[in-house]
């Protein structure tokens, strides 16, 4: 080969190298299709597969206290029996005590709530012997309105539990708070005190009552000598076991 031709080839080779250095990255990227999902994604899926929308009210408005929570438990069951099966006997440190109470046939429930699809009450106890009763009432269609109209405030006085205080309470689940309605009542004859924390729960942000809604209530008897604050704290401890995580969420 002639020396001049070799020089020309060298120049062209250098040019090619420069072009490859300049544009090679883009060519390589373009030649490699985007990989299937998950390859470089975050390390682990949320351990809590169920997402719920909870609020202190539900029929007339969405309050600023609506919170999105995650749970390990499927609360979408459409019957009391299915709900009892879906809800484990052990929730965090709390263990079921006694049999489930299916309250759908209770005359008061029938009268005020119609025929709720879910009407379940279960007692839990922790290692320290503290007890609470979880009540889950659910309905869909037009009758779901009854869950909002007949709250513990209107229900308990009829059973001789006089309302002493009612307000909204909040507690941190993780770094964000969940809110619940709080009712303190006293039994007219025995003087027993009962705290009820209650809220509503949906499994979609649509919150369409026709699709179904749950009214969840944690009933806490205040033992003699125990402060209401302490009893309230163990109620929140149980709720944290049901919903250990929140999801930041704003409606627009």
């Amino acid at each position: 080969m002639l020396p001049a031709a070799r020089r020309h080839l060298l120049v062209i080779a250098l040019l090619l190298v420069a072009v490859i250095l300049t544009w090679g990255q883009r060519w390589i990227a373009a030649a490699n299709p985007i990989p299937a999902s998950g390859g470089d994604g975050p390390a682990a899926a949320p351990a809590l597969p169920y997402t719920y929308f909870v609020d202190v009210e539900g029929w007339y408005r969405i309050t600023p206290y609506e919170t999105v929570v995650r749970s390990a438990y499927d609360l979408t069951a459409g019957s009391s029996e299915a709900m009892a099966a879906a809800l484990p006997a052990a929730v965090g440190d709390w263990r079921q005590v006694g049999e489930d109470d299916y309250v759908g046939d209770d005359p008061g429930v029938v009268f005020y709530l119609g025929q709720p699809t879910v009407a379940l009450q279960r007692t839990y106890q922790d290692g320290s012997g503290r007890r609470l009763a979880l009540t889950i009432l659910g309905n869909s269609g037009k009758d779901s309105f009854l869950l909002f109209s007949h709250t513990p405030e209107t229900c308990y006085p009829g059973r001789l539990w006089q309302a002493l205080a009612g307000r909204r309470e909040s507690a941190l689940l993780d770094d964000r708070a969940m809110s619940a309605q709080y009712l303190l009542s006293q039994q007219a004859q025995t003087g027993e005190r009962l705290i009820v924390l209650y809220w509503y729960l949906w499994d979609t942000p649509r919150r369409d009552p026709e699709e179904g809604v749950l009214s969840m209530r944690v009933n806490l008897f205040v033992p003699p000598g125990e402060s209401e604050e302490a009893v309230l704290a163990w109620g929140w401890d149980f709720i944290r076991s049901l919903f250990p995580q929140t999801v930041p969420w704003e409606r627009f």
Partner: protein
């Protein structure tokens, strides 16, 4: 042919090529090109909810006030579920045609956010933000959208905040999955109109780790997007820039959420060779919830009305002076139609109240533009 002529035949094209490559290399070495496309624009934009407005005169009044304040960009959602609601290929454009027409009447440009798939695109319809089962359906929608508004809507944004589980169907966020969606949308958009400008989805600013509750740090997510090849599928990087309770000059820090966090996203762009693309701010602002507002509800922290007005104007001026890669800044938000009540902190971002009463931040922007 004489030897000298042969040499010239080789050498001239070679020299021309060397020259061209030299220019490219010099531009790369210089870091920023002299002019980044889509930066020489009116920087003032805002987010609007015109699709939620029932009364036409209110849409008119909204744009009239925006125009008076010097705002030239309408960032507006075009929910797929409203445009192709029931069946594939059956479009209902009328409501959105009115919005696009109105923008044209006021001489304002639209940045169209395209997300919210209709139910027919998915088996699981519990969450409206869940992506479609088949990305080709989304691509078809993007194609139809760009064709329908050819020459009238020139800027489209592909999805919104895919690093938030709430914007990804409450499932684990996935940068690779988003990159695939972006790729499909970009390919079909350019097929419909090579001149349409594609904006990536803005990422929500967050320090969270997806393994905890599904949201993912915006800086990590952006890096993962680039690793997945997303850089080839957008023309403008869209970013969010909320100031929270810090002034606009507050320096960037990966562990801090503030306005200048955008610079950290910019650094990632440059690291992946995307320095020749601009950044547009999708949502920008400070929240001025009243002092009595419960602390637990202050998602965006809070500043006073006066600080909100000052920071908002100051932030744009600061960014224009320091960020040659900046294009449009869309304030979050211009006016909501009354569906966000005053008991929500989000109410206190608005430049104008639902009844069109201007807030101090509106007046400040208007003054800055005069």
């Amino acid at each position: 042919m004489p030897a000298k002529a042969k040499l010239a035949l080789w050498a001239l094209p070679a020299l021309a090529l060397i020259g061209a490559i030299g220019v490219v290399m010099l531009a790369r070495d210089a870091g920023e090109p002299q002019t980044i496309p889509y930066t020489d624009v009116n920087p003032y934009g805002a987010n609007f909810f015109l699709e939620r407005e029932v009364e036409g005169w209110k849409q008119d009044r909204t744009l009239e006030m925006a125009k008076a304040a010097g705002i030239g960009w309408i960032k507006q959602q075009f929910p797929w579920a409203e445009i192709e609601p029931q069946h594939k290929g059956e479009f209902e454009w009328a409501k959105y045609d009115r919005i696009v027409d109105l923008a044209g009447e006021y001489g304002m440009e639209i940045i169209a956010r395209l997300d919210r798939p209709p139910n027919w695109t998915r088996q699981d319809n519990r969450f409206e933000t869940l992506p479609p089962d088949d990305l080709a359906d989304y691509g078809d929608f993007v194609y139809a959208f760009v064709r329908h508004y050819l020459g009238r809507v020139r800027y489209i944004q592909i999805w919104n905040e895919p690093n938030l589980t709430a914007e990804w169907g409450f499932q684990r966020v996935d940068a690779v999955a988003y990159a695939r969606l972006l790729q499909e949308a970009y390919r079909r958009a350019k097929e419909a109109d090579p001149g349409v400008v594609v904006l990536s989805a803005p990422l929500a600013i967050t320090l969270e780790d997806a393994s905890m509750r599904g949201n993912h740090d915006d800086l990590v997510f952006l890096e993962q997007m680039y690793q997945a090849g997303a850089g080839d599928y957008f023309d403008i990087l869209s970013a969010n820039a909320f100031g929270l309770d810090r002034p606009p000059e507050d320096p960037p820090d990966p562990e801090v959420l503030n306005f200048r966090r955008v610079e950290l996203q910019r650094a990632i762009m440059e690291r992946y060779g995307d320095g020749d693309k601009p950044v547009w701010i999708n949502e920008y602002g400070w929240n001025a919830a009243p002092a009595f507002f419960p602390e637990e509800l202050l998602t965006w922290e809070r500043v006073t009305d006066a600080q909100q007005a000052d920071y908002t104007v100051r932030g744009i001026a600061w960014a224009r002076a320091h960020w040659p890669w900046l294009g449009v800044v869309n304030v979050w938000y211009f006016r909501q139609v009354g569906d966000i009540p005053p008991d929500r902190p989000a109410y206190y971002f608005g430049l104008v109240d639902p009844d069109f009463t201007p807030r101090p931040v509106y007046d400040a922007l208007r003054r800055a533009n005069q």
